[in-house]
């Protein structure tokens, strides 16, 4: 079967092309581009990516306006049906603001915009998005954000840890995130939000290819299904 992966573009998204290139490089199929004002998603999508950027200029709160845009109603419905959804950086912020993932992403503890490659520990290697990684594997993925400081109350954090929903953790302190959480899964395991950019680490020319396995994990699982 041919993989049908979509990338949603909001006004102010700026990693949508990188995400589409990554999907195309790994799946071999063209990425379907969706605009924020589209009320309906194309039929029979296998995968939806919400890219990084500064949707709606980060007005009100990062991701808050995009979370209420017409296309997100369809994305939420698709996620509820079990369609895999990946949100990276601003996409992660949109997922928490829309309620698809718990918690919130606040201004970095340092107040600074952080732009560098960091080490992540793969905490859950059993998920749809991480099955090609080894448990505990250390990977290097670039990040670039101002609001990546993950916050959730202690009960929620305990639940996330207990249910294996912390997908990635920063190896060193990066942005003030509670328990150094870099990426979280929803309860059903079909929605992943993460601040680092796996789509920026899929080609040796990027300086590393550690992000490639994330796309391979989800695409291979879908093509096998």
């Amino acid at each position: 079967m041919s993989f049908r992966g979509a990338v949603v573009t909001f006004p102010g998204s700026n990693c949508d092309r990188d995400m589409a290139v990554a999907l195309e490089a790994v799946s071999g199929a063209p990425a379907i581009r969706v605009w924020h004002g589209d009320a309906e998603l194309p039929d029979d999508l296998d995968f939806i990516a919400l890219p990084g950027g500064f949707s709606y200029g980060d007005y009100l709160r990062s991701g808050a306006m995009a979370a209420k845009s017409p296309v997100m109603r369809s994305v939420i419905a698709a996620a509820d049906r079990g369609v895999p959804v990946l949100g990276v950086c601003n996409g992660f912020q949109v997922l928490t603001e829309s309620g698809l993932l718990p918690g919130a992403l606040m201004r970095n503890g340092s107040q600074n915009f952080i732009c560098r490659t960091v080490e992540l520990k793969v905490e859950n290697s059993q998920s749809l998005f991480t099955s090609r990684y080894e448990a505990g594997e250390i990977i290097r993925i670039p990040l670039a954000h101002h609001d990546g400081n993950y916050f959730a109350d202690e009960d929620t954090l305990d639940r996330l840890e207990g249910e294996g929903r912390v997908a990635f953790r920063y190896v060193e302190k990066v942005n003030g995130s509670r328990r150094d959480i870099a990426g979280v899964l929803n309860a059903a395991g079909n929605v992943l939000g993460m601040m680092p950019h796996p789509e920026r680490a899929i080609d040796p020319a990027h300086g590393g290819t550690d992000g490639r396995k994330l796309f391979e994990s989800v695409i291979e699982a879908l093509v096998r299904a």
């Binding site: 918690g103 606040m106 003030g176």
Partner: protein, 79 residues
Amino acid sequence: MKARVFVSLKPGVLDPQGRAVHHALEGLGFSGVEDVRVGRMIEMDVADNVTDEALDDMCRKLLANMVIENYRIEKLETA
């Protein structure tokens, strides 16, 4: 009427922005400032028939993020 919504971080949620502002105030030589929390005020002109419940709903659905923020609504009757 005018409705003002004051959005503030919940107690216990660290406010790095407030901390930076606090530090800057001290740098300017102001003493006696014990804590600074930065929030947001949203002012709306709304029709008189907009109910308190509707205002509350606006806050919960968009204006505040209930994971990290509290809100307070203040209504000002306009002549």
